[in-house]
């Protein structure tokens, strides 16, 4: 079973993604801030990370940077799921090495799952 880490501080959104991903047959672990995200990655070694950008303690940009600088996590696919949608943010995140950028309000849950599946397929 493939394992997905959901990093999201808004509890209602986190629950929704967790629910749909487990219904779709993925193992789900989650984190509600940037520091927790990095320690969960260390412990759980997920197959993919769904990462929000505006997070307490350590923002998504820093988490992504830390993941890409670490030999052990450099290859884990990261799908950024955020409501920041300015080209500046998108460009910065892709430059830091994210695999995809999705604006939350523009995607249905089923489409998010679809993108997760596609990204895992490409790995």
């Amino acid at each position: 079973m493939q394992k997905i880490l959901v990093v999201e501080d808004e509890i209602n959104l986190r629950r929704s993604i967790e629910e749909i991903l487990s219904k779709e047959g993925y193992a789900v672990v989650s984190a509600s801030d940037g520091e927790e995200a990095l320690s969960v990655v260390e412990r759980e070694r997920p197959d993919l990370i769904l990462l929000d950008l505006v997070l307490p303690k350590k923002d998504g940009f820093s988490v992504l940077k830390a993941l890409r600088e670490n030999e052990a996590t450099v290859k884990i696919p990261v799908v950024v799921l955020s409501n920041l949608g300015e080209m500046e943010d998108v460009g910065r995140v892709l430059e830091l090495g994210a695999n995809r950028y999705l604006v939350k309000t523009d995607y249905k849950l089923s489409e998010v799952v679809e993108k997760v599946r596609e990204t895992l397929g490409k790995k």
Partner: protein
């Protein structure tokens, strides 16, 4: 000062904009410009008169007058610059406010959207089990989903307005079929307005060359223009959506309605931000006044043109052109 001006020059209202922007009279650019003009004229006249009458060497009063005027101009110039900066800052703050508010709205919107997604999903599971569709709940969830989508589109439109104002809007540029896109949107609208007062007809040649533009944003423009045609046709009517491809460097898209039309005096403002014509306000037709503003920016930045012909009470044709993909 504004009161004095109202009494003396009621028809030239150069203070009203400054009052709205919170500028005092000594910072108000129109007032300062006029004062500078008046000051120049009077100084020249007086200097000439005084110099001719009382001085052996007319250079002395001339140099004094020029120095005094230069100092006054410098001080007034500073005030004008400050005034303009204040106005520019207010405008920038408004744009930033739209951007911040829209981003903040997106989080609760995502919660609505995804929670509704889960409800729809759970419902269809339950329906699969019992074989009985729960129609009432389905209708309610459907209504919420539609409204949430509409709100998400509105937030995206507001964000586009703030991006246009800040000059940070970035367009995608891909070849796509404008006729396929339009056919789909016309079908959607006919389904939505099914049985309502208007019918939308679609008229296009068999083959239309693909255009090169930002597909998502052109979809927004097409939806917006058809939506306007439907909304501003209060009675019965036929709306015609047409595509013309005459083999030139661009393809022309248009929508013709038999609706309210645009009053002659308001035509020049129709693409302005948040502008709404008096006759549509009178008819109490809901709208935000940002659709055409965004449409103009999208089409023109893509290398196309946008325009309209309209007669009040008869109807309007709105059209745009997009460059053909090579």
């Amino acid at each position: 000062m504004a009161e004095l001006q109202k009494k003396t020059l009621p028809h030239i209202n150069f203070f009203s904009e400054c009052e709205r922007a919170g500028l005092s009279w000594w910072q108000c650019p129109p007032f300062l410009f006029i004062s500078m003009g008046v000051l120049t004229i009077f100084t020249m006249l007086f200097t000439a008169i005084i110099a001719a009458r009382y001085f052996e060497e007319p250079e002395v009063p001339t140099v004094v007058a020029v120095t005094v005027v230069a100092i006054l101009f410098f001080v007034m110039g500073q005030s004008i610059i400050q005034g303009f900066n204040k106005i520019a800052q207010a405008n920038r703050m408004k744009t930033e406010f739209i951007s911040i508010a829209s981003h903040q709205l997106r989080t609760p919107l995502s919660v609505f959207k995804w929670t509704l997604d889960l409800m729809v999903r759970d419902m269809s599971d339950e329906e699969k089990k019992t074989g009985v569709p729960n129609n009432e709940l389905g209708r309610l969830v459907g209504a919420l989903t539609d409204s949430t989508e509409r709100m998400a589109r509105m937030v995206n439109a507001l964000l586009d307005v703030s991006r246009i104002d800040a000059g940070t809007i970035v367009f995608d540029s891909q070849p796509f079929s404008l006729s396929e896109l339009t056919e789909k949107e016309v079908a959607n609208f006919n389904e939505l307005t099914g049985g309502a007062h208007v019918k939308i007809e679609y008229d296009a040649p068999k083959s239309v060359r693909p255009v090169k533009a930002d597909k998502l944003r052109v979809t927004m423009v097409v939806q917006n223009l058809i939506d306007n045609a439907v909304r501003y046709t209060p009675g019965d009517g036929v709306i015609t959506v047409r595509i013309e491809d005459a083999g030139g460097p661009s393809v022309k898209w248009s929508v013709t309605d038999q609706g309210l039309g645009i009053p002659e005096t308001e035509k020049k403002n129709i693409f302005g931000k948040f502008f709404r014509a008096e006759n549509v306000k009178r008819e109490k037709i809901v709208g935000s006044g940002i659709g055409l503003y965004i449409a103009k920016s999208i089409i023109e930045k893509t290398g196309g043109k946008i325009g309209f012909e309209s007669r009040e009470g008869k109807g309007s044709t709105f059209w745009f052109t997009l460059p053909v993909a090579r």
